[in-house]
Symmetry: C2
Amino acid sequence: MMTADKLRQYRQSIDNIDAALVYLLAERFKVTQAVGQYKAENALPAADPTREDAQIARLRTLAVEADLDPDFTEKFLRFIIDEVIRHHTQIKSDLG
Amino acid sequence: MMTADKLRQYRQSIDNIDAALVYLLAERFKVTQAVGQYKAENALPAADPTREDAQIARLRTLAVEADLDPDFTEKFLRFIIDEVIRHHTQIKSDLG
């Protein structure tokens, strides 16, 4: 049986992983902001369904390898992409 | 102006970051599964609002340091925690 101390250790691991996730997400949005700038300057649409389909297929495969639920992984990517599209639409409207 | 080649490079960075995110999430759910087992065995509730409030406050601070939107970060953590609670409820019902 796990002790309360073990629970505290697990939560510390979760907190460490969450910090890594936040920093990775920050880096990811830095890259997608640059992509958004490019798209806005070249009058490209904010969303790119072909690219998104390829990303989803690839991440579902990676999820299986990592023993992560592929459906959850797809929902996760969709959650991130929705935020990216929101940013890209904002950049476009800022450029007028 | 960014070239199409530059766009391809940015997308490769996004793909690399996404792979890292998938593997980190897989690791995070491994830890939360262990926590869920502990909670189920000790008849603890799947959700823990006090712990969640502390996690949200901490991640919002980290987000500001990383130049990531704190509101998005909170939504992101809530998205992950909802999945964790779903798992914990499942473990509890499996234990009968």
